[in-house]
Each structure stands twice: as structure tokens, then as C-alpha cells.
């Protein structure tokens, strides 16, 4: 089961990092995780568990928010990257798709995608990649000349993912791609991400609250709470874990959705570490 955790040569390994915001607020307390080349790894947990902070620590975006990795290391193919600029991290092959989409609203869909190829020196290859992105997201091809601020939420999420793909990453950090989207669209987007993973070999570290969906596509999962990893294992094992079901999926027993009224209060308040 712990094939991912014990992988001796992972693509990315986060080793026992501690993150402090504003020099005082401790948000991550010793997080370790690994992503194998070409794998999909889910990072689950409730709001405020530290999923986004973990992703930002990897991509280097943390420092613009006055956060800092104070202990531990982040290694990309054996090289430390936790002191690097975000631009440097992108050039090495890691791109983050931020929570809440963050498209460039005043640029057209196509211009958004093209900015994603900024770090690429070869303009011709970037053109080909544009065609590739349109193959993954045919909807975007239809709306390529519309300003990104005016397309729907689902399409914006596609723009954000497509834009990240344009940088030709080997690892994509996806932060809550399902946020605020209808279930059908979420499914569509996850399908495309997994196709991207299969065909282009892009590894994915997926931070999600929607555990059912995330575990369906991931091979391995980590569960976070209060800035710590509290549990990890194969996606299927985690998916079958009764406690996980109880807390994240709202399912129990035979898999039927049960009424919130039936959940006992003491169960609801249970924490992993208590």
C-alpha cells in the first residue's frame, strides 16, 4: 500500500516542512508527501487544513503572501526547490493552478492560454501546444476570442488548467478545481485532467474537498487536518475507510447518503488527532 510513500526516487518529495506566516502563525507542522512521476495524488482535507499552503510552498507562491518554509525541504527530482522563485519553479516543470481560477479577466481566452507559455523560449512549439490545449478543451476553441472575464465558471477553470498546461509542466498542482462548479462540469474537468495525465504524462497533485471525485481519479491519497498529514494510503483503501466516509463523503454503511440528523454529535466533532 505504501508504494508511493516509500518510492526511493519520487518526482516530488516534500520532507517534513513547517510553514510560518508573518513570522508568527504556524500553519504547516511537519508535512511530508511524495508524488511519483506520472501519478495522480490527492490531498484531501477540510477548509483550512493546509492544503493550499502545501501547494503554495511547493510552487513558491507562498512568499508573496509573507509565508515561509522554516523547516524541512522540498525536493524536485532530488534537487531542493523551496528557496526558488515561482518563475524558476515553473521553468523546472511545476505549475500551480490556483484556487478560485484566477484567469486574466481582460485578456481573451486565447491570450490567457498564450501567457501560459511565457517561460517557453520556442514560440513555434507554443503554437502547437495551443492546438493541443484546444483538443483537450474543445469548448475553449469556440470561445477563444471572448474575454476570459465573461466566460462561465467551468470554462474559466478550463482556461486556468489549459493555461498551466501551456507551460509544459511535468507536475501540475491543482487547487480545488471543483470549487463552485456544477457536478457535471466537475466530472468533465476531472476526466480531462486524467486524460492529460495519461496522454501527456503530467503528474498531478490534487488538493480537493470533494473527496469522492478526487479518490476516483487518484492512485494515492493524503488526508490533512490542522496543518498535518493524518492519514495516507492507496486511493481505494482511503475511499473504503469508514471514518473518511463519515467525515468527507457523508456516506456510511452500504454507501447510502445518510441524513445529517442521524450523525451523532460526538462523531461529528471527532478529530483525527484527538
Amino acid at each position: 500500500m505504501s508504494a508511493v510513500r516509500d518510492d526511493p526516487r519520487p518526482l516530488l518529495s516534500v520532507n517534513n516542512i513547517e510553514v510560518i506566516y508573518d513570522h508568527v502563525i504556524l500553519v504547516l507542522k511537519g508535512v511530508s508527501l511524495r508524488v511519483p512521476a506520472g501519478g495522480i495524488v490527492a490531498l484531501l482535507g477540510a477548509n483550512g487544513a493546509g492544503k493550499s499552503t502545501t501547494l503554495k510552498a511547493i510552487s513558491g507562491l507562498l512568499r508573496t503572501e509573507r509565508g515561509d518554509v522554516t523547516k524541512g525541504t522540498i525536493e524536485w527530482e532530488g534537487q531542493p526547490i523551496h528557496r526558488k522563485d515561482p518563475a524558476e519553479v515553473v521553468t523546472r516543470g511545476i505549475v500551480q493552478v490556483m484556487e478560485g481560477r484566477h484567469v486574466f479577466e481582460h485578456l481573451t481566452v486565447e491570450e490567457n492560454l498564450l501567457t501560459g507559455g511565457y517561460t517557453r523560449k520556442n514560440g513555434h512549439a507554443a503554437k502547437q501546444d495551443l492546438a493541443l490545449v484546444y483538443r483537450y478543451f474543445p469548448r475553449l476553441a469556440e470561445r477563444r476570442l471572448v474575454r476570459a472575464g465573461y466566460v462561465s465558471g467551468g470554462e474559466q477553470q478550463m482556461v486556468a488548467i489549459g493555461r498551466a498546461l501551456m507551460a509544459r509542466p511535468r507536475l501540475m498542482l491543482l487547487d480545488e478545481p471543483s470549487m463552485g462548479l456544477a457536478p457535471m462540469l466537475v466530472h468533465e474537468i476531472f476526466e480531462i485532467v486524467s486524460r492529460m495525465n495519461r496522454e501527456a504524462g503530467v503528474a498531478v497533485l490534487l488538493a480537493e474537498q470533494n473527496a469522492t471525485m478526487a479518490l476516483r481519479f487518484a492512485q494515492y491519497g493524503y488526508v490533512m487536518e490542522n496543518g498535518r498529514i493524518v492519514l495516507d494510503g492507496d486511493a481505494r483503501t482511503i475511499g473504503e475507510n469508514e471514518d473518511i466516509k463519515e467525515f468527507y463523503l457523508g456516506l456510511s454503511g452500504v454507501g447510502q447518503r445518510k441524513s445529517y440528523r442521524d450523525v451523532k454529535h460526538y462523531r461529528r466533532r471527532k478529530r483525527w488527532l484527538s
Binding site: D85, A87, V90, T91, V95, E105, L107, Y118, G149, Y150
Partner: protein, 312 residues
Amino acid sequence: MTELLYGIAIAPFKDMVGSPAFFAEVLIGGVFAGLMYSLVALGFVLIFKASGVFNFAQGVMVLFAALTLVGLLERGVPVVGALLGTTAVMVALAWVIERVVLRPLVNQEHIILFMATIGLTFFLEGFGEMVWGANVKKLDIGIPDRSFIVTGVQINQLEMFAALTAAVLVAVLGVFFQRTRVGRALRAVADDHEAALSIGIPLKTIWLIVWSVAGIVAIVAGIMWGAKSGVQFSLSLVALKALPVLILGGFTSVPGAVVGGLIIGVGEKVGEVYWGPLVGGAIENWFAYVLALAFLLVRPQGLFGEKIIERV
């Protein structure tokens, strides 16, 4: 009463039709003044577009560029060398500003960056005075301030040159912003700093580029103003006239800066000459601001400004 109405609504137009050559001269004077405002406004637009910062120091950058140029010329440096030297100084200035002012303030509120540029204004004014002295200086770039007459209308050579330069500058900037990789990145940064960072656009480089380009625009504006009215410290006040131009044209639009400048330049000149006597003159001093105020009420994003996109 009827006399007043006649004075406002009929007499000025009769005058215009009565002597078209004079009217044309007034118009040309207005266009020239407008282009001058546009050149200053352009610098504002560039920086605002790419970093969302309203750079209060743009006016003083114009002054600083002109002072440097004159200073170099006075020391016997040939024109081309002086231009290159001034460009180098403005790029160096951009580099220092990025390091010392902008970098520590990434992701801060816009108002904080704005305050920082006010600080920069005072610093540059003092620094310029310290290095180059406070005297009014004559800037001579080799184009005579002479006029020739085309079909009865006086045209000033220097003004023509300024107009052409401005037109070329605007065209180049337009292409740069719309069509190039770096231009696209600049607009991306303006929209969302963090997202731009997340896809690997290096903010430092981008800011260095924008401030350098704004510095170069400042040189052009400084040359034109300096050649027309001498290099003096009141030059930095021109920046205040750029503000209504921006409100009219929109803070994010390069063509907007030009059109806004033209409307205000022509409007105030024509207003001054034909309507001025009715109110005892000095329309030129307030026309721009009143127009800007009206625009704020009716069309706050300006003529060409980007609409504020709101999702509901």
C-alpha cells in the same frame, strides 16, 4: 439676456466661420497642447496597465529626464550620446525603483504603492535639483521653433515634429501591448499579480521593463515640453493636467490617453479663445478638470477604459 445667449451660442461659431485660418491655428495649437498632455498621460497608462499602480512620480520623471538631457548637453556631450545617456539613466532609475520600492511591496494594497510613488516624487525632485541645479534651462534639440505657412495657416515645425513623434510612439506601444509576448505578459500582470507569478511570469523583469518604457516615454515628453517652454521645475506640474486626460481616456488605454489629451488640448484652447472673453478668460485653467468631473459622473471608466468585469 438675449445678448448673453447670442454670445454663448452664436457669436463664437460666427467667428470660427468668419476666419477659418485663425480657427485652424487655434485647433493646431490645441492639438499640440493635447499631444503634450498625452505624452505625459501615456507614461501613467503604461505603469497603471502593467502594475495597477498610479505612478504619481510620472510628472517628475519627465522633469528628471529633461534635466538629465540638458545637463549632458551642457557638458558638451553630442545629441545622440546625450539621448543614449539619458535613456541609460532612466533604465537605471527603473531598476532602482523596482529593487527599493516595488519589490518589498509586492501584493500590498494599491494605496500603499501609490503613497510610495508620492515619496518617489519628492525624492526625485530633490535629487534632480541637487545634481543639475534649479535654474530654468533652454533645451535645444536642433529643430528650430520656426513656423511656415500652408494655405494661410501658420504651422510650427517643432509642433509638427512633436506630433509625429507622439504618433509613432503610440503606434509602437499599441503593437507592443497587443501583439508581443512581453506585452501580453504585462497585461496579464496588471490583471492578476499572483496568477501571473503562478505561470512563471517573472514580476521583477516585467516591472523593470514597464518602468523603463515609462522612463523613455518621459524622455520624449521631457524633450517636447523642454524645447517648447524651457526645462524648469514647473514641468512636474504638467502631471496634474495628465490626470483629467486619464479620466477622460481611461486609465488602461493607450489610445485613450491620446484621444483624451487631444480632447482636452483642443477643448481648452478653443474654449479660451472663443468663450473666454465672456467669463473674463482663464478657461484653460479649469476646463480639463470640469470635463473630467463630468466624465466621472457619466462614464467613470473613461472613453476607452476597460470595463470593470463583475460576476454575479
